[in-house]
């Protein structure tokens, strides 16, 4: 759903449009806007698709223009639950995550290149992903990804190097199955794990289960 927003009052105004996902059973669970406001990206929980919508104005609506699967072609869609979607800090790529429905099924983080000069969709039709990382576990309810902020000479204004495609970026990924937190590094073409740790505690109701990570953010 897209609402009018007033930055001064902080209030949502009129419901401008309701956009239905392409298939009835999709379950769009996370939507994020592009930094220029021209596109909206959504991930579907039940079908693990990244959907791309173009912003239409006067009247406002979102037009579906592209659909790509997070999954490799040989796996059953019903084994996965789509989770989060994030652009990279440079804005040159888009990442989406999906979780395995059981401990036997590992999740994925999939990345595609974005071309903001394209008119029909920033991701070309049938474009192969730039990268796909199979996560160490199913991710449980998590497999949530967040990128670290970029820094510049003036940390108060993280703007100057935001377009620099030569910088590497860090990301954190959370695991709700075994309680891992992973730090990943993205160099523009490869997403690799560089560090991990496990949460120290146990489930409050069942000591045989580990403490399970939900969502992590960068504080610095």
């Amino acid at each position: 759903m897209t609402y009018q927003y007033d930055a001064e009052t902080g209030l949502l105004g009129r419901l401008l449009s309701e956009t239905t996902s392409p298939d009835a059973g999709d379950g769009p669970r996370h939507v994020v806007p592009s930094p220029d406001g021209h596109w909206v990206f959504a991930i579907t929980e039940h079908t693990s698709y990244l959907d791309v919508y173009r912003q239409e104005v006067a009247p406002q609506s979102l037009k579906h223009v592209q659909r790509l699967s997070l999954l490799p072609s040989h796996v059953p869609i019903s084994d996965y639950r789509g989770d989060t979607v994030r652009l990279s800090p440079s804005g040159n790529e888009i990442f989406a995550t999906t979780r395995g429905k059981s401990k036997a099924i590992k999740g994925f983080v999939t990345a595609w290149k974005l071309d903001w000069t394209a008119h029909l969709s920033p991701i070309a039709a049938n474009q192969e992903p730039l990268a796909r990382l199979e996560t160490p576990t199913s991710g449980g309810k998590a497999n949530a990804i967040e990128f670290a902020p970029r820094y510049t000479e003036q940390p108060d204004q993280v703007v100057a190097n935001v377009d620099d495609a030569s910088l590497k970026d860090l990301a954190v990924l959370t695991d709700d199955e075994q309680g891992y937190i992973y730090v990943l590094e993205w160099n523009g073409s490869d997403l690799v794990e560089v560090a991990r740790t496990k949460l120290p505690g146990k489930d409050e109701d069942d000591e045989s289960e580990p403490e399970k990570a939900s969502h992590a953010i960068w504080l610095s």
């Binding site: 759903m1 897209t2 009018q4 927003y5 007033d6 930055a7 902080g10 949502l12 769009p28 669970r29 996370h30 939507v31 994020v32 806007p33 592009s34 930094p35 220029d36 406001g37 929980e45 104005v57 406002q60 652009l87 800090p89 440079s90 804005g91 967040e146 902020p149 970029r150 820094y151 940390p155 108060d156 993280v158 703007v159 620099d164 030569s166 910088l167 590497k168 860090l170 959370t174 937190i181 992973y182 730090v183 160099n187 560089v194 560090a195 949460l199 120290p200 505690g201 409050e204 109701d205 403490e211 399970k212 990570a213 939900s214 969502h215 992590a216 953010i217 960068w218 504080l219 610095s220």
Partner: protein, 200 residues
């Protein structure tokens, strides 16, 4: 290739919630030794299923984030605010306050965002001191004012009902975390004065 050396700190800090304990965990990542460690475990109002960062009007220069907002997965439906003290060697988190909400929230979003980014938390919007917290989950979404100095959650300024039947159906609707499987899931603001809600 580089991480933008010069201003980029060697040690980066992270905060995570959990799905099954009432703790937040502060972590540090040493970019030189490439190690990630749990620095501190903090009793919280959780389990905190989703976190959002914010910045107060009194944030020290050079610090992008000094406030954290959290949803909870627990039976008590609440949102919580935390402040970060950066004076020592490691950041210290302190609970600020907790407010009740109508239905369990899935994701939270802060406006203005604490720092500029093309991705979360700013989606290209300008940064500033946090003034509003947005939450959405299941049948409802809410807007809470934030005290620009303390970061405390203040009054609820708006509640939106996402049920097809509207407010009259709210009493009977499921407001627990089960409703996140088929109701509203996130509320984020983007350019063009628009706010987006994903609804399963």
């Amino acid at each position: 290739m580089h991480h933008g050396e010069g201003a980029c700190p060697r040690v980066r800090h992270l905060l995570t919630g959990t799905f099954n304990t009432r703790f937040l965990h502060l972590l540090s990542f040493d970019s030189l030794t490439r190690t990630l460690s749990v620095l501190a475990t903090l009793p919280a109002q959780g389990p905190h299923s989703f976190l959002a960062s914010g910045r107060s009007s009194s944030a020290p220069s050079g610090r992008l984030v000094d406030r954290v907002y959290a949803t909870t997965w627990a039976a008590e439906k609440t949102l919580s605010a935390w402040s970060i003290n950066w004076k020592g060697e490691n950041p210290e988190l302190q609970w600020v306050n907790t407010v009740p909400i109508t239905a369990t929230s899935s994701y939270v979003h802060v406006q203005p965002p604490p720092y500029f980014s093309k991705t979360s938390p700013s989606y290209g919007l300008p940064a500033g001191s946090a003034r509003y917290l947005y939450s959405a989950g299941g049948p409802t979404g809410e807007v809470h004012a934030i005290d620009a100095n303390t970061g405390a959650l203040q009054e609820k300024t708006q509640e939106i009902v996402f049920l097809p039947g509207g407010e009259k159906d709210l009493d009977a609707a499921d407001k627990t975390r089960k409703a996140l499987r088929y109701g509203a899931h996130n509320l984020d603001v983007g350019k063009g004065s628009l706010a987006y809600v994903a609804d399963l």
